[in-house]
């Protein structure tokens, strides 16, 4: 395979000007001809190995791992779905019932999940105020799920969640994410929504899934505009 001088520079992770100087100084096995360079990949690789230099061919644009942007709120919420009328007198039972009702989790995971959420609650409450809580496990669930999930659970009766403002919680967004990055991304967006009092009031009306998702879609549009600026 023929490499260009730019690819050589990328493979060795040095600037092109350095490769150029190395060729001039005769330090690298590349020959200059009157109309370009003679580069032999295997020779170059052997040379880099002998000199203990890092050498890896640049990935082609097609097979390079595209940096997929983390999931947005809407798909994660659609995946999690809306759960109404979750029973429970205190934080523990409410969480337990909510986890039990999440339909896509198998039973053995459910138990571990519940333990994880509880553990996190014991550190500090996830009640972020205004009657909203965002329970989540402390470590990302890398092996268990491939996409982030937000299950929106409306409680039958508001329960005490030891929230920062002391108000009882009436809605929980159970946030499960495969990576820290997507967790932070979703958490940041979710808290942006909750910061708006109108949204919290809207939540208090226990909306049905269609109106809820269209509301979230509105938020997503606003985020998209913010990103572009």
């Amino acid at each position: 395979m023929k490499l260009t001088i730019n690819e050589v520079a990328q493979s060795l992770r040095v600037p092109v000007s350095t490769v150029d100087r190395w060729i001039r100084q005769g330090r690298i096995p590349i020959q200059r001809t009157d109309n370009g360079y003679l580069v032999d990949e295997s020779t170059l690789e052997k040379w880099a190995k002998m000199y203990k230099l890092p050498f890896s061919l640049p990935k082609k644009a097609s097979d390079a791992k595209r940096q997929t942007p983390p999931d947005n709120l809407l798909p994660a919420m659609k995946r999690g779905g809306l759960l109404y009328n979750i029973k429970g007198d205190d934080r523990e039972t409410a969480l337990k019932n909510a986890v039990d009702n999440i339909h896509f989790l198998s039973d053995n995971i459910k138990d571990a999940m519940y333990q994880g959420l509880l553990e996190r609650e014991h550190l500090t409450s996830t009640g972020v105020g205004k009657g909203v809580a965002i329970p989540h496990p402390r470590t990302p669930l890398k092996d268990l799920i491939s996409n982030a999930i937000i299950a929106t659970c409306f409680l039958a009766v508001p329960v005490d969640f030891h929230a920062i403002d002391g108000r009882p919680v009436f809605v929980m967004f159970i946030l499960l994410s495969p990576s820290t990055k997507s967790h932070l991304h979703l958490l940041s967006r979710l808290s942006f929504c909750i910061r708006e009092n109108a949204f919290v009031d809207f939540l208090k009306t226990t909306p049905d899934s269609t109106t809820f998702f269209s509301k979230i879609a509105d938020f997503e549009n606003r985020f998209a505009i913010g990103d572009r600026n």
Binding site: V14, P15, R24, R32, L38, K52, L53
Partner: protein, 575 residues
């Protein structure tokens, strides 16, 4: 046309693409032959000139001849070819370390002519440095012609120097050792092999044209333990002579530069003084090969005072010739001084311990020569091999090594840099392979440039700046003028950290108020060595690169370390 172009790029021929060492071997032979030829030419013309001038030696005005020769050579160098005076070896060493051995084509002739004028007329200097320059320039230009790269060119410059020394002394090993020890400064097989081949080629050319003769004849000495011990004393004496010679050369140089006269007048004054000394002590005149031979054979036959005086006179004459602007090298004068010092030492030994049977004075003359060469060049191996080869005296190798090593050690204590390297060290130009200075001098600012900093404007509000921080990777934010784009200063994240979480400040503070304006900047053409020094002195981790008031990028210590390591790995691989 095509065949011509093909011919100019031997690096692309299939046979040499396989292994460029073969190419270097072929080139080394060519370079060795040419540099050998140049030294034969100089040698012959010196002989002709000295024979011609010999006729006038008994006239009273003879002292004016060295003056005329030195003045002419200085005029030639200064006005005709516009090259600096001096012996030129430091320039070759500097070119090898800094410019990949690039030398001008005319250098291959100019020094030959100028030194021929100086030495042929009786000036006390050697023809070796000129042939070394000539050979090096030949090597460099052959490499240039065939479009070889810097590494190969450096090897060929070494080949030229080695071939020249090998040819002028008919001493291939000395040529090789000199080129590697003094010129290239790197004991690696990639250099040694071609240089050895060029030295052999140079010596062969000399033998072909002038016959295979050892310059100073072959002598058999019976050496006992006592004579070996006595050589230690000679080492001390020759070290003293070396230091005296070095200091005297330097002081003469300083004095001559204080004389308010053109270069060539100064050279004439120096030459005139040499001529006057020469009237009384003819041993000081010329390159002195003839006198060296007489001294080694023990035929000088003067009393102690005269010999000691002659040693001083030769030292003074050499300093007068070279320090006042004559052209030539230090090699041959060192041989004469060394043999004079050796004979002096022998006389002293006989004077103090007349009952002991000392080996004849030729033995000490040999050792003195080795001592002076090793001390002057700070190159013990060159001294040892040169003397062994030019005298065929393998049986004196043990005392030779003792004298060479002891003299070098003593001289190194008083004069850490050798005669060749002194100027380079003073100007910070000694960049031997594998040293910190060399690595940094090879890197340049553009290679280290990082351009991922986000630039900001002085009229930007802190609120907008906070948004920029969210999307940037760096802690430095260069500030540019909105209209002209000129670099104004820099904002470091540390500067605004206290206000970052205070939304009240967001709409009240402009970046122009918090940016640092007294910023150290560097230019893309600056030496990385200076940049790093600047960072060290000021305790900086990053420094902006600015050209014509425009911000170009940033240099940081992290990138320097990364590049520095790669450069070190590439340059100092032990193969």
């Amino acid at each position: 046309m095509r065949i011509l172009r093909w011919w100019r790029y031997p690096g692309n021929w299939p046979i040499f693409r396989f292994d460029d060492r073969l190419l270097l071997i072929l080139m080394a032979v060519i370079v060795g032959i040419f540099s050998g030829l140049s030294s034969v030419v100089l040698n012959r013309s010196l002989l002709i000139m000295s024979e011609w001038l010999h006729r006038y030696q008994h006239f009273w005005w003879f002292f004016a001849l060295p003056a005329a020769g030195a003045a002419l050579s200085s005029l030639f160098l200064e006005k005709v070819v516009r090259e600096g005076a001096g012996h030129g070896v430091p320039e070759v060493i500097y070119s090898v370390s800094r410019y990949g051995g690039l030398l001008r084509l005319r250098s291959s002739v100019t020094r030959l002519v100028s030194s021929c004028l100086t030495i042929g007329s009786g000036g006390s200097a050697g023809p070796e440095a000129p042939v070394v320059i000539s050979g090096a320039a030949i090597g460099s230009n052959i490499a240039k012609y065939f479009s070889l790269n810097d590494r190969q060119r450096v090897a060929l410059v070494g080949c030229g120097a080695g071939g020249a020394i090998a040819s002028i002394f008919n001493a291939p090993i000395a040529g090789m050792v000199f080129a590697v020890e003094v010129i290239v400064g790197e004991w690696k097989s990639v250099n040694i092999v071609p240089i050895a081949i060029a030295s052999v080629a140079g010596a062969e050319i000399c033998r072909l044209l002038q016959g295979n003769q050892i310059p100073f004849g072959h002598h058999v000495f019976k050496i006992d333990f006592l004579n070996i011990v006595a050589s230690l004393g000679l080492a001390v004496l020759s070290a003293a002579a070396t230091i005296l010679q070095t200091r005297m050369l330097r002081s003469m140089h300083t004095i001559s530069h204080k004389v308010p006269a053109p270069m060539w007048v100064r050279a004439a004054i120096g030459g005139c003084m040499v001529g006057i000394i020469g009237l009384y002590l003819p041993v000081v005149l010329g390159e002195g090969y003839h006198w060296t031979e007489i001294l080694i054979e023990g035929r000088y036959g003067q009393i102690l005072t005269i010999v000691a005086l002659a040693s001083f006179a030769k030292i003074a004459a050499t300093a007068l010739t070279l320090g006042w602007g004559g052209s030539g090298g230090i090699f041959a004068p060192c041989l004469v001084i060394g043999s004079l010092v050796g004979v002096t030492y022998h006389h002293l030994l006989v004077l103090f311990w007349p009952s002991i049977s000392w080996v004849n004075e030729g033995y000490y003359a040999l050792l003195g020569m080795a001592g002076l060469i090793s001390g002057m060049l700070q190159a013990p191996l060159t001294g040892i091999f040169l003397i062994v080869e030019i005298t065929g005296g393998w049986q004196v190798i043990v005392p030779l090594i003792i004298v060479s090593v002891v003299t070098t050690t003593i001289c190194h204590y008083f004069e850490p840099a050798s005669y060749y390297l002194k100027d380079l060290v003073d100007h910070g130009h000694l960049l031997r392979p594998g040293t910190d200075e060399r690595i940094l001098s090879d890197l340049n600012v553009t290679e280290l440039l990082e351009q991922d900093c986000v630039t900001v404007h002085p009229s930007m509000l802190l609120r907008d700046f906070v948004d920029i921080i969210k999307h940037s990777h760096r802690n430095y934010f260069p500030v540019e003028d909105e209209k002209t784009g000129d670099f104004l200063g820099i904002v470091h994240l540390d500067d605004i950290r206290p206000y970052l979480f205070d939304p009240v400040m967001y709409d009240t503070v402009f970046l122009g108020q918090i940016m640092r304006t007294q910023v150290e900047v560097v230019h893309p053409d600056d030496d990385v060595l200076d940049v790093v020094r600047k960072m060290d002195v000021k305790g900086l981790y990053s420094i902006p690169v600015v050209v014509n008031h425009k911000y170009l990028g940033l240099i940081s210590k992290a990138t320097i370390l990364d590049q520095y390591r790669k450069e070190l790995m590439v340059q100092c691989h032990l193969l």
